[in-house]
Subunit: 526 residues, 2 copies
């Protein structure tokens, strides 16, 4: 398959710039063969102007057509076949099975957003009828529905080249609502991105979408991204990545003359509370499950469990021993690219200076560059409390067990944590019930609570909250995963005394879409 | 009634500062007799610490108790009786009828939020069941529900001392969700605020709320407000007021180490399109209705119609003449306070230099200081296009008619406007249908579309969108009015594989609250 290494501006490829870059193959430890040109600011401007031009035709077309576009993207991604998984593995060092799993997730997401807009409930129709006889003043007829906010800039995640990138959740949710998308491609999987861009272009043309509904810009420096979020034609931003990167884009977007919403899903250490009640005959199973969760994909997951809290006891010692031994059995895997690798090594050195190492991934039979050697540490609560570095994420296969004196001390430490994507409790149902204060405290710091499980694995469904208090995300009121991810790109619009036949269908009296609507305060299909 | 002029910190009054101020009586053109002390930063800190302490007990108490608290506030506000309306009129120069109407609105809002939380639907419960047989990996059980975000700072509006201030929509919606509130009182209606604070304190104590659920700070400078939005214990901000004030607080809140959501409802010129089809036998009625809408409450409404667009024609000339003559019949009213008055006079002078005056409110029989003398202007589209000042709000009884050559020119002008709370079209149903591009363009700039009506009058109901693209509000995805105003202070939390009996009631299998829930993608009460 031919990989087109140019920026996609509407329906045309363009590469007028001079700065070039390539992605990196972590297995070979060398640059990949594909050479990309950084987008120029003129190319960027063309992309946003086309996106703005496409906005009204795109948002006003039938939902069936938008759904068909999303499904066509899914079909074309599948049609890329082995080319896609081959390029994906070359750019990430991740196994083919992971590439296939992530592709399935990406396709499933596109399908689920297509289904959601055809279902129509995301429009959240609300009707309050007029009352001409109300005193002292008559009541007007008011009806409210969700509308897309406009062109969205999407920044993909280096650790999810498919599901959280080019045609991932941010793009799919924005396109579903009727918002055109301009993707700033992640330079470290530029070729994977290029293939997906080719799929989206074909889908857009086959389904006769307006030019500008999708564009993609390349760059291996900050200029394109910072200009993109400051472009007045961009009305929202989706980002998945580091706290530093997400926060920088967020602050830029808020300092615009016209601020725009930014949903950045950023770092998390995903605290896990190991209650004494979990440390019984199941202890070894939990140790094994957690060793696997920590090492999975070289620990390069936003839901990787980086912090475990337990109550000091012989049982906790045994658990740490089991966890460390299980971890020692695991082979290290490649890290995505040199920047992530060096940040990981730096973080590990900082932990080395404070905490006690209790386990490490196995020494591979033939040592290679680029592998992320995992480590388990332990530390006393008092040390944890006074070392803020230990509260922060080290992106990679690393986890720290904090030994507390009792549940109260443990709860205090949880209270002091920053916002998190997830919080997990291992233990019995009875223990969950008796430790109410701990549960409430943990809940106040996280977007998702898990009982007796591992935080890795983010189910794509409506009940998923993937987001959390800052810095887990920039706006805890929204999720990046599941159909509710569309809410990030929607705004309500009210129609007052509007003629019935000219209202959006979802608001018309005879309910032609058959939606459940909030009418005069009651949810009804009438 | 004794007016307590001290800051309320939890359940205690405090006034340890030294700087003092009084509000202003626009009728007497003199300071009111009540002397308030600016809050100190220590008092502020005490208030936010108490709010944080109150948060968990307050959010975890029964909904019935929170609803009882809201209804007790309503009852105590009514119990203030004539004291409240007397102080209100003294501080605003507005008539007693307006005070009574706004009190009714305030009480109605408190009631509607109490009803909404008892109804429970605002929790937006979502359930996705587990599927142990799914391949390649089993599906977990996930359930999601809305949770309050934490203590909210509320900044009241000078033009709505009751309904958008101390116990107004921001406070009521935050308290309803389970968020404690710290009000920064508007200095220009400090005494009205003080009475409402007394009502809230009594309600909080009578219904045994935790101390800190509500506090109120006074200040006539920026220090208290800017410190409040930067206080790490404050988790969200509600503001109603000027673009300059709202934007400043918004940017401060976004530059915190931990940014927080700010919903600021700010200025708007509320464009009105007068289509030729409106200028028939109804022309005089529309002229009269608009003269009243522009002059209402000295034009001191965020939905005041500040811009009218028409197609140049003898009929438009006649309408401008009718509008101006109807306006000439109206007596000027007092403006709220000297700052608003001088800003109004400044804006008027700027308009005088560019536009043609066609009408003015009547010269009162006994001229007085403090009256806002209303003006109607007209201007050609070409002049409007090249004078950005004319696009901006002048807060007061002033409106500008823009004469366009045709609907295309008119539509272009609408497209160039900033975000607005409302957009209105006067005309026939057929005209609305044939001018689709105009309607779509207007819709893209506003939160609420109105057909054949006036924008003043903001109905309190679920279908009301009171908000709009920036600078009408800082986040167009939310509303300040109606039960959906609670969404500003709510975040979703997911529970994964959580024991049924320990889930929030709204998520339990047997649906004890009888809510409509999204279960596996279907809205159902089962």
């Amino acid at each position: 398959m031919n990989i087109i290494t140019k920026n996609l501006i509407g329906f045309s490829y363009s590469a007028v710039g001079t700065e070039t870059f390539s992605s990196f193959n972590p297995v070979d430890q060398s640059a990949t063969p594909w050479v990309f040109k950084n987008a120029t600011l003129e190319e960027l401007k063309k992309a946003t102007v086309l996106a703005e031009t496409a906005f009204i035709p795109y948002k006003t077309m039938s939902v069936a057509r938008r759904a068909a576009f999303l499904r066509a993207i899914a079909k074309e991604i599948l049609a890329l076949g082995e080319s896609l998984t081959t390029v994906y593995t070359a750019e990430t060092g991740l196994p083919k099975g992971r590439a296939e799993g992530e592709r399935a997730r990406t396709i499933g997401q596109l399908e689920s957003f297509a289904n959601a807009i055809e279902n129509g409930q995301y429009l959240q129709p609300i009707i309050d009828h007029a009352d001409a006889n109300r005193t002292p003043i008559p009541k007007v007829d008011l009806r409210k529905i969700n509308e897309p906010i406009g062109p969205i800039a999407v920044f993909g995640a280096s650790n999810f080249p498919l599901a959280y990138s080019t045609a991932g959740g941010d793009t799919a949710s924005a396109l579903a609502t009727g918002c055109p998308v301009v993707v700033k491609a992640h330079p470290m999987h530029a070729a994977t991105n290029a293939l997906v861009v080719q799929a989206i272009l074909k889908a857009a043309q086959d389904t006769k979408m307006p030019e500008g509904v999708f564009s993609c810009l390349y760059s291996n420096n900050y200029e394109v991204g910072t200009q993109l979020v400051q472009d007045p034609l961009i009305k929202g931003v989706g980002f998945t990545g580091s706290i530093a990167g997400g926060t920088a884009l967020y602050k830029l977007a808020q300092s615009r003359a016209t601020p725009i919403p930014v949903f950045a899903e950023m770092g998390s250490v995903n605290p896990v509370v190991v209650l004494p009640e979990a440390l019984n005959e199941n202890s070894a199973n939990w140790a094994k499950a957690y060793a696997g969760s920590i090492a999975l994909g070289s620990g390069q997951f936003c839901t990787n469990p980086g912090l475990l809290f337990g109550i000091a006891s012989p049982e906790l010692d045994a658990f740490i021993d089991q966890l460390s031994k299980a971890f020692n059995q695991l082979e290290p895997n490649y890290m995505l690219h040199p920047n992530i690798h060096s940040a990981y090594e730096k973080g590990k050195a900082e932990f080395d200076a404070i905490a006690t190492k209790t386990g490490a991934t196995a020494t591979p039979s033939s040592p290679k560059e680029g592998l992320g050697h995992g480590v388990i540490y332990k530390v006393k609560a008092s040390t944890f409390k006074t070392n803020p570095r230990l509260h922060q994420e080290v992106f990679g296969p690393l986890s720290l067990v904090v030994e507390c004196k009792n549940v109260d001390e443990l709860t205090t430490l949880i209270k002091g944590l920053e916002g998190q994507l997830t919080g997990t409790i291992l233990g019995s149902e009875t223990a969950l019930e008796t430790n109410e204060n701990l549960v409430i405290t943990l809940q106040s710091r996280v977007g998702r609570l898990i009982f007796n499980g591992v935080p890795t694995g983010v189910e794509v469904c409506a009940a998923m909250q993937h987001g959390g208090p800052f810095p887990a995300s920039t706006d805890e009121r929204f999720t990046a995963v599941g159909v509710k991810a569309m809410d990030r790109w929607l705004r309500p619009v009210s129609y007052q005394n509007w003629p019935d036949k000219l209202l959006p269908k979802a608001l018309q009296n005879n309910n032609p879409l058959g939606l459940t609507r909030l009418i005069n305060g009651n949810l009804t299909k009438d």
